[in-house]
């Protein structure tokens, strides 16, 4: 599904190399987790994949289902199936959540040459999905993320993911700021989307999330590289011992 080869990325404005040769393949139907110390480049990877400005790819490639995504505009990547649940979801005053969702869903359908959803089909779909995430009607009417609590913002990200049904879901610390119950809700939301045709890349610092969303593969990122890859047990090792041993072992 998602194939990243030798990806090197620097900041556009500064002479600072952040990703230094990332290699990673997420197969359809699989859940990959990325863990790693603060500042190791996890969010940068997720931003570069979704097309945010400010980064320059100096080497390497990234493809989604065989298509080069690095040349695409962010909206084209979205239509191709990339979705990033932001570490810090953005507040957009003046744009209603519902309008936002509907515009996004229909824009993607249009880009893929599909018919737009009718207002009533859309409404039915949103209401059902919002309900499972315990997002009430009032929250749907409010401007996007404005005045939402940290946990509400994260649930709203998952609602967007559920509505857009992307092929490749990238979740950047979706567990941070969630209480225990919200963590369960969000995990259920993600698990409901697990599907043979869909890949997941879950960035997290904690095993706790991975108790709910069971990963197939766990990667450790440090200093702009994937330094170690293993099964779910790797996450437990990090949980128990921190990164020191792994970093030393891999010579970082």
């Amino acid at each position: 599904m998602l194939e990243i080869k030798n990806l090197h990325v620097k900041l556009e404005e500064e002479d600072k190399q952040i990703l230094k040769g990332v290699n990673l393949t997420v197969e359809a139907g699989k859940v990959h987790a990325i863990m790693g110390p603060n500042g190791s480049g996890k969010s940068t990877l997720s931003y570069v994949l979704s097309g945010r400005d400010g980064y320059e790819v100096t080497d390497g490639e990234a493809t989604l289902a065989g298509e080069d995504i690095l040349e695409m505009e962010p909206e084209e990547r979205a239509a191709a199936g990339i979705f990033l649940a932001f570490q810090y979801p953005v507040e957009i005053p003046g744009v209603g959540n519902m309008t936002f969702l509907r515009t996004a869903v229909n824009a993607q359908r249009k880009a893929r040459g599909e018919e737009e959803l009718s207002a009533s089909d859309f409404l039915k779909d949103v209401r059902a999905k919002a309900k499972t995430l315990k997002i009430d009607a009032e929250m749907l009417k409010r401007p996007v993320n404005v005045g939402f609590s940290g946990g509400e913002k994260k649930r709203n990200e998952i609602l967007q993911m559920a509505m857009l049904e992307p092929k490749m879901c990238i979740l950047d610390e979706t567990d941070s700021g969630l209480d225990v119950d919200a963590m369960k809700l969000v995990s259920e939301g993600v698990n409901a989307l697990r599907d043979e045709g869909r890949g997941f890349l879950v960035i997290t610092h904690y095993q706790r999330l991975l108790d709910h969303i069971k990963p197939d593969v766990v990667h450790i990122m440090a200093d702009g590289r994937i330094i170690k890859t293993g099964g779910p047990e790797l996450a437990l090792e990090v949980e128990n011992n921190g990164y020191a041993d792994i970093l030393a072992e891999e010579g970082v």
Binding site: P74, E75, I92, T103, A104
Partner: protein
């Protein structure tokens, strides 16, 4: 005191090109207004109040020509049930207008009241304008009172079943129109007035609004899309106890627009809201100049002005809240913001507060900024194309002003026009 030489000669030149209309019962008011003009002189660029907007083309004897623009869309408010009062190049058009009778409201042409000795409008015509000349002179408004060719006097005595729509058509490339309206809302009465259209190549409009105790007036205006038109408008409003006055203006295009509003809250518990949204391109110059005086207890005033500027357009906001001694419990709010869609455009703002009472809550803020890049990326990352995303954010920026319109259907109609403007610029 003699006027500066330049001002004197410019004023003389303009006045020489005009003749005072036969006044009838308004003759005194017109003469008094003419003498105000002569005393104040017409504005020029040295005047502090015209620091950001050059008045030359509004003052000079010959109006610059402006091509009549065919927008290729139905005029604003066409879809609403309303009583239409049409002016073409500033002259009433009876053919195009509806029958002026409607329960709860009386509408008469200024020309038709002139031969009457006694008329209620006599006590208002030029009166609020004259009051509004201090502390800041507004000579173009006095010029209007003196020379207005046409206009209506509207008296609201009940709750008319539909709004009155003053339609200003632009017919000739060289038209120079002066319209003066007087509106009196009687105690407990309430009405909505809609205004739309470019009116003329050059338009000088004055509206005096007197809202009696417990009365309410909603005013929604859409200034026409003609690119080359120029307009100087004045709104003078006086509010009685527990009265409500809400005004909103949408401006799309026009090479020069100066909208002045002078609002006086003279009765306790009165509410005045004035808002505007404008979008402009290139040589578009748009100026909102507002002066609100609180002279009673527990009144509320809100000013919400939003400007979207691109391609070198200029936006100006001069807004003042004056809270007089004794106007306790005043709640005054003022916000003026611009969204600059490129580096060539500019927003010039002068917000002012002058307060002589101690128990008041007044706030003002003015900002100028570009499209929020974070928001734009967030929308795009969800698949929304850049131009659509930028339009969504632009409309969101204007939303606070548009929300000031009480009637949702009217607000939606205005938003549709804004969407159209944005879509045409993709």
């Amino acid at each position: 005191m003699a006027l500066p030489e330049r001002k004197q000669s410019d004023t003389d030149a303009r006045l020489a090109a005009m003749t005072l209309p036969e006044g009838g019962c308004l003759a005194e008011a017109r003469k008094a207004a003419l003498s105000r003009v002569q005393t104040m002189g017409l504005p020029n660029r040295r005047d502090e109040y015209w620091k950001y907007t050059r008045p030359d083309t509004l003052v000079q004897a010959d109006a610059p020509t402006a091509a009549v623009f065919d927008a290729g869309e139905a005029p604003m408010f066409d879809e609403f049930d309303r009583l239409k009062v049409v002016f073409v190049d500033g002259v009433f058009d009876a053919e195009a207008s509806d029958d002026l009778s409607l329960e709860g409201i009386s509408i008469e042409r200024i020309a038709d009241i002139c031969d009457k000795d006694i008329h209620w409008a006599k006590d208002l015509y030029g009166v609020l304008e004259a009051r509004g000349q201090t502390p800041v002179a507004r000579p173009l408004a006095a010029l209007n009172t003196a020379f207005a060719q046409d206009g209506v006097v509207i008296r609201v005595t009940g709750t008319p079943s539909k709004p009155v729509n003053l339609v200003y058509r632009h017919g000739s490339d060289s038209s120079d129109a002066i319209l003066h309206h007087v509106v009196r809302v009687e105690s407990g009465a309430s009405a909505t007035i809609l205004e739309n259209g470019p009116a003329a190549s050059r338009f000088n409009k004055c509206m005096e609004v007197d809202v009696a105790d417990g009365g309410a007036l909603h005013l929604v205006r859409a200034q026409g899309r003609d690119h080359e038109r120029r307009a100087a408008t004045h709104l003078f409003a006086r509010l009685g106890t527990e009265s409500v006055f809400k005004a909103f203006t949408l401006t799309v295009n026009g090479v020069l627009t100066r909208n002045e509003a002078v609002i006086e809250l003279t009765g306790d518990d009165a509410v005045a809201h004035i808002a505007g949204a404008c979008v402009g391109d290139g040589d578009f110059h748009h100026d909102d100049t507002v002066f609100i005086t609180h002279d009673a207890v527990n009144c509320e005033s809100r000013q919400v002005f939003k400007k979207v500027l691109r391609n070198g357009a200029t936006g100006v906001f001069q807004g003042k809240i004056l809270v007089k001694e004794g106007a306790q419990k005043t709640d005054g709010y003022q916000i003026s913001q611009s969204l600059l869609l490129d580096d060539d455009s500019q927003f010039l703002a002068k917000p002012e507060l002058e307060i002589y009472a101690d128990d008041v809550a007044c706030s003002h803020g003015s900002t100028s900024g570009a499209i929020d890049e974070e928001g734009l990326f967030y929308l795009r990352s969800r698949g929304v194309p850049t131009d659509v995303a930028a339009d969504l954010l632009t409309l969101a920026f204007l939303a606070e002003a548009v929300e000031e319109i009480e009637d949702d259907e009217i607000a939606a109609a205005l938003v549709a026009r804004l969407e159209g403007w944005l879509a045409r610029r993709r």
